[in-house]
């Protein structure tokens, strides 16, 4: 009995090896369950859209490309098991990293050690620039966004603010850069405190805001937390100008907070929606997912897959070094949906920052 199982297992391994040899596989660590799954489904849909296009254009040198998705339960521990599986069992040379900088930072040393290319499409922590030579990201670093929010605050002539941020690598890093830049430009921070991720009750935090009676509050947080805070501040009649970052910019924020989201102003890394690339992406999205809005960071996920496909086509071989060179080569002057993707020495890209606001229950550009 045991022998038969052994033989069966061997045949299966052999067969699956043969089948997959015809495909070019890359891996993706995606939050399909857990607290970030609000975003995860959208990331996946954007990646699949890009993948479909890559394969329609003839795949990678004639072979179809495939993405192996691994769920990480939105947590660092889950991300580590996912990357271990993708590297040791699936042996994939290129991986798309998990969302949330804390999760990304948990896996990037593993990728570096195993000489596996890891690409970020939505992790913004400045810290990520130090991940190593196999690390790339198509999303701009917070070092840029922190400065962006500080400049916004300054431009709106708020020189005294309360600062609150989500208590994780992303929030803390962003807050630090904001603080540094804001204080340098002569601003004053009346109170600053972190708030926990995933709570349903932020009333005490709101009270702490109210205590300083600030004209403006800089709230660097996500959608759900942001919406709850806005709603509970509205309930207790806190009148202040809320300034937020890019991670809260979503129609979901308005759906959850309703009237309370009205008037929020924020920054976000932007790109022109007039380019032919964006128009083509938008048309393709609407064709594939007719009743779904383009998700947060969907464009970055799309660019990531397209750029990776380009690198795979350029690569001389599948060796880590050749792939790394091909990534850098592919990025040079690459005009994606989200703009120029030329990688700097840290594997980072540049950014342009725009301003958003909520007006009549819709997200609009702030002018």
């Amino acid at each position: 009995m045991k022998r038969w199982t052994g033989i069966l297992a061997c045949t299966w391994l052999l067969l699956s090896g043969l089948v997959s040899a015809a495909e070019v596989k890359v891996g993706s660590i995606t939050p399909l369950s857990g607290k970030l799954s609000v975003y995860g489904e959208g990331f996946q849909q954007a990646m699949l859209l890009a993948l479909e296009e890559v394969n329609a254009e003839g795949g990678i040198k004639g072979s179809p490309m495939r993405i192996v998705f691994e769920d990480n339960n939105s947590a660092a521990a889950g991300s580590v098991s996912a990357i271990q599986k993708l590297i040791t069992i699936d042996k994939l040379p290129i991986l798309f990293g998990p969302a949330a900088s804390s999760n990304y930072l948990a896996v990037c040393p593993i990728a570096q050690q195993n000489k596996t290319i890891l690409i970020a499409a939505e992790s913004a922590a400045a810290e990520i620039s130090k991940c190593g030579s196999y690390n790339f990201r198509v999303f701009p670093s917070d070092a840029l966004q922190g400065i962006g929010v500080a400049e916004l605050t300054h431009a709106l002539k708020f020189d005294q603010v309360v600062l609150t941020y989500i208590n994780n690598d992303w929030g803390v890093g962003l807050a630090e850069i904001f603080k540094k830049k804001f204080l340098e430009s002569g601003g004053k921070i009346l109170d600053d405190f972190a708030h926990d991720e995933g709570k349903t009750d932020y009333r005490s935090e709101v009270l702490r805001v109210r205590k300083s009676n600030p004209k403006a509050v800089v709230n660097l947080t996500y959608i759900k937390e942001g919406a709850t805070i806005l709603k509970q501040a509205y309930e207790s009649d806190v009148k202040t100008q809320w300034l937020m970052g890019s991670a809260s910019k979503s129609p979901k924020l308005i759906e959850l907070a309703g009237e309370a989201a009205e008037g929020v102003i924020g920054t976000y890394p932007t790109f022109s929606q007039e380019t032919p690339q964006y128009q083509a992406f938008k048309a393709a999205w609407e064709k594939k997912y007719p009743d779904k809005k383009i998700p947060v960071f969907g464009e970055y996920n799309y660019d990531m897959v397209k750029l990776t496909a380009k690198a795979l086509r350029l690569a001389k071989s599948m060796s880590p070094e050749d792939l790394r060179q091909a990534m850098i080569e592919a990025g040079k002057g690459y005009a994606g949906v989200t703009g120029d993707k030329t990688f700097d020495a840290n594997g980072d890209v540049g950014a342009v920052y725009g301003r958003w606001t909520v007006k009549q229950q819709a997200i609009q550009d702030y002018k």
Binding site: L32, S37, A194, G198, L207, K211, E235, E255
Partner: protein, 290 residues
């Protein structure tokens, strides 16, 4: 001063919902001597089932939706016991514990499967809170407080004034002796599960009304219920009630002194300290449903 009083008020309201969760958890522990990890999922299911009856195709008014939702949650709670815990009861307590963890994953993912993992809301427009001399309270917060008082009052009367309450307390004291004395075990166990489920569902609905629904809402609040149960002494209903209030107040007042980013610290630190120094709980008069 008014700042602290408002924090206290918020704490009492948050605490009354924790108490609703904790009472059911401790009741199950008191009678069956095991911690039901899937208690959190009853919270989630209560909230999602209400959403189901509240939205199309049913579109019932909220109060009407809550009733079948609580009833269905009770059915889930009862079936947990009937199909899984009862056959395992004679075995090792660890088996029950692991079964309950497994069940919790299953129920949580069933929510994801049916309703998706996206955030959902009841779509109530946010309303300015009512102001009482500088203190703000929203209608939903008042409802939370009222519902907690209502359910706990029913529990109090039930436990102290009825034959059912007496048999429940006797069972908690000594399961075998109670059975020998002719107390119907199936009836007692059914009532414990129904009570625990209805309380969890009620708490879940209130929590969802106040903010939103997501598949992990029960699991994240379960830890607070654990702390409350430990604080009151496992198995002690009144202890759990006070424990819930205590945790709600402690974590909300804590915000005045340290960064709210570490709010959960209060609940976790309390668990550690109590396990180390007062394993029978602060209000641990004696174990059992008292």
């Amino acid at each position: 001063m008014s700042y602290y009083l408002q924090l206290l008020l918020n704490g009492v309201i948050a605490g009354s919902v924790y108490a609703l969760f904790a009472v059911g958890l401790t009741l199950v522990y008191g009678v069956f001597r095991f911690i039901n990890f899937s208690h959190g999922e009853l919270i989630t299911w209560g909230a999602y089932l209400t959403l189901m009856f509240y939205t199309p195709p049913f579109s019932w008014p909220l109060f009407l939706s809550a009733i079948p939702a609580m009833a269905l949650t009770a059915v889930i709670g009862f079936s947990q016991d009937f199909f899984i815990y009862r056959p395992l009861r004679r075995g090792n307590p660890i088996t029950l514990l692991i079964a309950s963890i497994g069940l919790s994953y299953m129920l949580r993912n069933a929510v994801r499967f049916i309703w998706g993992s996206d955030l959902r809301t009841f779509d109530f427009p946010p309303a300015r809170g009512m102001e009482f001399g500088g203190y703000y309270v929203t209608g939903i917060q008042l409802l939370m407080l009222a519902a907690a008082v209502f359910f706990l009052a029913i529990l109090y009367l039930g436990l102290t004034r009825t034959l059912w309450g007496k048999s429940l307390r006797a069972t908690a004291d000594n399961l075998e002796l109670a059975a020998i004395m002719g107390i119907s075990m199936p009836r007692v166990s059914a009532s414990v599960w129904i009570l625990a489920s209805v309380f969890a569902a009620a708490g879940g609905i209130l929590l969802a009304l106040d903010t939103n629904l997501e598949p992990v809402m029960g699991a994240t609040n379960l830890i607070k219920a654990f702390a409350a149960v430990l604080l009151g002494g496992a198995g002690n209903v009144w202890g759990a009630l006070l424990g819930g209030l205590f945790i709600g107040i402690a974590e909300n007042l804590g915000v005045a002194f340290f960064s709210p980013g570490y709010k959960d610290l209060v609940a976790f630190a309390l668990i550690f300290l109590l396990l180390l120094f007062r394993p029978r709980g602060l209000f641990g008069l004696l174990t059992g449903v008292r």
